[in-house]
Amino acid sequence: MLRIFDIWKTYEGRQLLAGVSFDVQEGEIVCLLGPSGSGKSTLLRIIAGLEKADAGHVYWGNDDVTDIPAHKRGFGLMFQDYALFPHLTVAKNIAFGLRMKKHDKVDIRRQVKLVLESIHMQDFTDRSVTELSGGEQQRVALARTLVTNPRLLMLDEPMSALDHDLRTSLITDLHTHLRESRKPVIYVTHNRQEAFALADRVLLLREGKILQDATPK
């Protein structure tokens, strides 16, 4: 499905990624595990098309998508700080991607309603996102990413903004959502337990290289 081939990137004179290659199969959840500063987020941004690699390619099936801009790639990315639009309500945040894809209003309303129900937040429709708790924000961010039906789903440390107790309770939830979506998933984290609880495969990234590629269990 997704194939990352020999990605190189230096940032401010530092070698961040040094020839990273891997692939992700359909419905597979791949965890990128590594300490902070190991280049995980940069790799995600390169895959999403938000940043350009110095060298290397990103393939989707047989298509080289390396030079396709982010908004045309059809990949979903959930940001570490969720990046919810503070000037929009919960429903409008979720509707944003559909609006950009020029869905008609009736369809947008229907889909937003469905997705809000699936995350049990149907009562939050017209709330401002700045009033939400950390856990609620995370669910909205995930819903916003999933509703546009991206062909690949990327999550950048989605648990890092939450406290420990919430994390353990949400991780099963998240796991179900990811499984149900049947999409290829790249999940970035520095937390070993999180990685092993979720992933079909764990890639260990250190000093810009993939040191280990293994299945947990």
Partner: protein, 576 residues
Amino acid sequence: MSDSKRSKLNIFLLWLIPISFMLLFFCRPLLAIIRIVFSSRFSQGWAFFSWSQLTRPLFFSFQQAFLSTCLTLLVGLPAAFLFARYDFPARKMLRAFSLIPFILPTVVVAAAFNTLIGPRGWINLLLMHLFNLSTPPLSILNKLPAILLAHVFYNTSIVIRIVGQRLERLNPNLIEAAYVLHASPFQAWRSVALPLLIPSIGGAAMLAFLFNFTSFGVVLMLGGPGYATLEVAIYKQVFDRFNLPMAGVLAIVQLLVTWLIAIVQNRVGYTRFGNNSMAQVSPFRHRPKGRLEKTFVIMMCILLVLLFVMPLLSLTARSFVTLDAARGERGNVKTGFTFRYYTELFRNRRDSIFYAGPLAAIQHSLLYSFITMIIATVIGLLASYAIADSRKRFSRIIESLFMLPLGAGSVILGLGFLLTFNHAPWTSGSFPIILPIAHALIALPFVVRTMLPAIKSIPQNLRDAASVMGASPWRVRREVDFPILTRALMVSLAFCFTISLGEFGASGFLANASTPTVPIAIFRYLSQPGALNYGQALAMSTLLMITSVAGSFFIEHLRLPGKTGSPTSMKHLTGK
């Protein structure tokens, strides 16, 4: 007496002085304005009143403020974008230059534009020389374009500061999230960045509008006789027509309109989107790439240099050059570099003790600033302590009372003072004490805005620790508070000094012929014929400009407790 009773008494005493000051020197003059309108109305009917003398300046105030604000946004928004998004050589210097105008006294700005576009300005001299003309070909001075140009010069810095700061701290993840959600770059800017910037754009526009609406010095000196905003009309009613009640009517209208604008401005400016939309750093800035970006950066730099650097350079340069004849000199004039305008400042040419020369004006100005510093700092310090010590709801009301002089404007204060204190003992002798008091009122909001956060930032447990170790309440203030407040105090003093030194509106009403301040002297010299008068006006303007810039540099570089490192003077004005 119980402790709680004593502390209540202390707070009351603390209040007594600043509140009395405000009642006597702010509320009473305002009431005097209202009174003169109504008493004239009852004694002589509406004879003093003329609709056209109200509607004409009112309409012109709105018209020029609207045009100036539109033009300011037209320059300011791309400039804010330029500084927030692009790295280029001399970026810092150009940005610093573009923020200078805001702190310049109006007389300096008027003098600077006079040297650039005036009949004796560089552009006209150049054109006359090139095409062998006998009269200056460019005549936009004393017309609307000159006013608009000066207003754009003044207020672009507001847009750069308010919108630029917001733009720099816009969380880049939000824009990228929009990209990932299928938004094109244009859509991302339109549906994410723009809505987040709108409150700051609106706030900056309203503030610029407010300043343009209440513009006095610029319109008086750069606009011709046909152009009067409400404030200029008030001045002319008093000094040209001696129609005080009509001036009072104009003042009341002006007050109502400015307060209305201020209320709207507060509403617009306070929309907040939480911390989520703010990033701490500015990862957005990069070197211009591609032809389009490079052209944009170069064009903007040229525009900003023309707008901000040229007038100031032109003023400085012109103050060192003899180009035309002084009064009484005929025939061939030696043109070239000269220090003469500066050395003449310190000489009493007319050998007359009644003549107040530039040196006298400088002496007066320094003396007034010194007294202003003392009055405003003492009253402001007492008021800040009183506000910090009393209950929240009450303190908020009183805090806004001390901000009111900012909204009233110096011309209205000047008028009120003229009506209230134009008699002994206030004007006794050769020294109008009311002038530094008026300056102190104008500086007071700045002092309170500086001292109050600093006082609030002192942790209570430091004071508690001191009293546990045996320090009396007064001793606590001396040993704990004052050392911590030193910096804020220095900033307050600098504010008072620069405000008083450059103040023009109130001084125009209150300075008498023998005791002019530097701005008043510049105003008089600029309008007199002869190269020497002109040159001296420019020399004084240059000195005043350097002092103001030095003062604000000092203010900006003393980081204050209770604030994070961002520039302070704008914060003081906008209250954010």
